[in-house]
């Protein structure tokens, strides 16, 4: 794990603490709860995206999949399913979409960029169709409490969804680091031809990767639904960039072979703290946009310079 992303996160928090007119408020547990609940969706997406990016792929459809699976869960809930099956339905649909992506990439030999760009449109369209071009309201169930800011048994401290995301992050980190599957994900990202030459069934592996990532995107969609208390087919437009940015800020390389779950989680937090902080500064929207852009670059640049000095 590289140190860079941590420094970046620390720098961002320090920056806003120093500039804030009420640092106590900014550093409060309440604000931390807010940020962590806001991060859940991107963080879950980033876990899946890390696997895909490490394997040398990319998935642009994550925003649409979030919308689709949110709608699926909402629709099934409204159709009277009990919460757990509805949640599972959303997650499974996410996984299926991922498998389709994987098959298109491996069987039809379409580059991941294009395959998932196509899926971006398809999943979004299907979401709107399922939802009948409206938002789908859901009955009150515990699914709606997954990503609340103030969890119900207060001893949970943060939303149950945050714990789920944390747990999954730990599991994914272990899988990537310590299982044959995980190391092969790195191998095909690092040198696909070499991996194939050593007898790694690269195509099957890719389908698994996209499928597993899809399950996580599906869960992310359920969380999104829970936050909005509705299935919304137009939600999360453009969030693929957020998710990919979290991974890349966390040290993932778009040419594959590099990346870590921990890094990506930090990356997701950096993005969330940036938005949260700049919103709390009371800057006008355009200043926020500018500052977020500048800080993203600086946070990553610091890491880049440090590394380039190290290799000299």
């Amino acid at each position: 794990m590289r140190l860079g992303p941590f420094l970046g996160l620390a720098a961002v928090i320090l920056f806003f603490t120093l500039l804030s007119d009420s640092p106590a408020n900014y550093l409060s547990m309440r604000n931390f709860r807010i940020v962590s609940a806001q991060t859940v969706i991107v963080a879950l997406g980033a876990i899946g995206m890390t696997m895909i990016i490490v394997s040398g792929g990319i998935d642009l459809s994550v925003g649409s999949v979030i919308a689709l699976t949110g709608v699926v869960t909402a629709t099934t809930l409204r159709a009277g399913w009990s919460p757990l099956p509805a949640l599972v339905a959303g997650v499974v649909i996410g996984g299926l979409v991922g498998v389709v992506n994987g098959l298109v990439v491996t069987r039809l030999k379409v580059l991941p960029f294009i395959a998932t760009l196509g899926m971006l449109g398809i999943a979004r369209g299907v979401a709107k169709w399922l939802a009948d071009q409206q938002t789908v309201n859901v009955p009150d169930t515990w699914v709606n409490e997954l990503a609340v800011t103030f969890p119900d048994p207060a001893w949970l401290l943060v939303a149950p969804g945050v714990w789920v995301a944390l747990l999954l992050a730990v599991v994914a980190a272990l899988v990537l680091g310590n299982t044959v599957f995980g190391r092969r994900v790195f191998a095909i990202g690092s040198n696909e031809a070499a991996a194939r030459a050593c007898g790694v069934a690269t195509d099957r592996l890719k389908v698994w990767i996209y499928g597993l990532a899809g399950l996580l995107f599906g869960l992310s969609g359920v969380m999104q639904m829970s936050r909005l208390r509705q299935g919304d087919p137009t939600v999360a437009i453009g969030s693929e960039l957020d998710v990919i940015a979290a991974v890349v800020i966390g040290g993932g390389s778009l040419s594959g072979g590099e990346g870590s779950i921990l890094g990506s989680m930090i990356g997701a937090l950096i993005m969330a703290f940036l938005r949260n902080g700049s919103q709390q500064m009371g800057w006008p929207t355009f200043v926020q946009e500018i500052m977020i852009g500048v800080i993203i670059v600086l946070a990553v640049a610091a890491d880049g310079l440090r590394r380039s000095r190290a290799t000299q």
């Binding site: 310590n178 299982t179 995980g182 790195f186 040198n191 194939r196 050593c198 007898g199 069934a201 072979g257």
Partner: protein, 494 residues
């Protein structure tokens, strides 16, 4: 064991294989020889299912054998050591060695066993210093080749195909490899061994097949065939006098002076001077720091100390600016042609002319026909085997790629040539052409620094020689004052 017959393969208009037969007998080592581009690598790729032949049949231990993928081949017990290194540079040595057969325990990767097995095989190879936890991307090229070899050995294959496994290895490692091959043989493993060094082949192999222009033209037992016969079968003519006879005129002015250059950890102290018209050889063991020293001189890496003067004018070595160095008339041939030597996706012509586009461009506009003409001229001079100057370098055979890299250096017409393993992967016939090209350049008044792990070539070509050992360059002495034993002694160092 493995029998191939009537194998044909075309790549678009190029006929790579045009009916090849090869019979690998159990427990034997089979030498596969042929000029660059004869089709050796293609044949090996077919044997492991990485390529599908257009025609022909294969059988393994009497059964029909038609691997659909390298995975199939591996399951059938056929492993290949690739000519162009195929390692995952982000992963560790151990992971690369055990890729495809990682040991597990309770579903998790068994790191301990992984390291142990990797360490074992490295130990057998006397490379215990190569720690299994190191990232392959951080290793020098020779160490990577060791990893590549270990990977094939560890796979417990019954047939091991070796495509120029020693092209980056120094003699000591070659010996270790041979010991390994013999041990495998004693366990009934058969191997195909591809190399451009006939003396190496004679050491390990019993049988041979010669490929020429995609056909198997001769096969038999090595012991009953002379070098001349082999070479004649390969090249279609006889080759004498490998090293060019040059009249070693008194060297001219000093072109390049290097004083106490250091770039820790690889290079700690190097000083030498090269004059017009001379070839300066640099010998040393793997990892001695020769490559690193050349990289510093070209500005690809920073020097921590020392001075470098080109024709008396000092160049900055503290900042990495290769384009400035090249503009001063230094030319560089990298030992790592796939990662640093060539832009593989571009055409032969672009690769040859890219260091001196000025010769065929006006106001930045490239005259395509002139570029092609100049490229063809160089290709002819070195005997590059390609469809034409527009062919992407990626689709050339390994040896021909190396020739393209040399052709670029010739085209650049730099005064000072820094050559790192210039004849790596070059066939016997072509080596002559390359040595001639180097000799010719020297007699034209260029100064040449030649790093090589192939001692005969250093003794054959150089006027003076220095030996690098653990980052320290010995004093430069005339070649007459060296013997192979003394070079080895200096390389091991004390």
């Amino acid at each position: 064991m493995l029998t191939l017959s009537g194998i044909k393969k075309r790549f678009g208009p190029t006929v790579a294989l045009d009916g090849v037969a090869l019979e690998l007998r159990p427990g034997r080592v089979h030498a596969l020889i042929g000029e660059n581009g004869a089709g050796k690598t293609t044949l090996m790729n077919i044997a492991v299912g990485a390529l599908v032949p257009d025609a022909g049949t294969m059988s393994l231990q009497g059964d029909r054998y038609a691997p659909a993928s390298p995975l199939d081949a591996r399951r059938a017990g056929v492993a290949l050591i690739h000519q162009e290194l195929s390692l995952c540079s982000h992963l560790t040595v151990a992971e690369n060695i055990l890729m495809g057969q990682e040991p597990t325990r309770r579903g998790l990767l068994d790191w301990d066993q992984c390291r142990r097995r990797a360490a074992d095989v490295l130990e057998q190879f006397h490379h215990a210093e190569l720690r299994p936890d190191r990232r392959v991307g951080d290793l020098p090229i020779a160490a990577r080749q060791v990893v590549e070899i270990c990977r094939a050995i560890v796979s417990n294959a019954s047939v091991v195909l070796m495509d120029e496994p020693t092209s980056s290895l120094p003699r000591a490692d070659v010996d270790r490899l041979f010991a390994m091959v013999r041990r495998l043989r004693s366990h009934g493993v058969s191997s195909v061994y591809i190399s451009h060094f006939l003396e190496e082949l004679r050491e390990v192999a019993e049988d041979f097949t010669v490929l020429r222009d995609g056909r198997s033209v001769l096969s038999g037992e090595l012991a009953s065939t002379t070098d001349a016969e082999l070479i004649a079968a390969m090249v279609g003519r006889s080759v004498e006098d490998v090293f060019p006879r040059r009249d070693r005129a008194a060297p001219g002015d000093v072109l390049l002076e290097v004083e106490h250059v250091a770039a820790p950890p690889a290079v700690s102290d190097a000083s030498f001077a090269v004059r017009r018209g001379e070839v300066l050889g640099i010998a040393g063991l793997v990892g001695a720091g020769r490559t690193e020293m050349l990289r510093v001189l070209v500005g690809l890496d920073r020097a921590a100390a020392g001075r470098v003067r080109v024709r008396g004018a000092e160049i900055r070595t503290g900042a990495a600016r290769p384009w400035e160095v090249l503009a001063r008339g230094i030319g560089f041939l990298s030992e790592d042609r796939t990662h640093e030597g060539l832009t593989l996706r571009l055409s032969v012509a672009d690769n040859i002319t890219c260091t001196r586009y000025g010769s065929c461009a006006r106001y930045g506009w490239i005259a395509r026909s002139e570029q092609a003409r100049q490229a063809e001229q160089q290709m002819r001079a070195l005997g590059v085997r390609a469809r034409g100057p527009a062919q992407p370098v990626r689709t050339l055979s390994g040896g021909n790629q190396q020739k393209v890299a040399l052709a670029r250096l010739r085209h650049q017409s730099a005064d000072i040539w820094l050559l790192d393993e210039p004849t790596k992967g070059i066939d016997i016939g072509s080596k002559v052409q390359i040595y001639e090209a180097i000799g010719e350049a020297a007699s034209e008044g260029k100064g040449i620094v030649m790093v090589s792990s192939y001692l005969p070539e250093l003794f054959g070509m150089c006027d003076r020689l220095a030996v690098m050992s653990r980052g320290r360059l010995s004093p430069v002495r005339p070649i007459a004052e060296w013997t192979p034993e003394r070079v080895l002694e200096a390389a091991i160092g004390s």
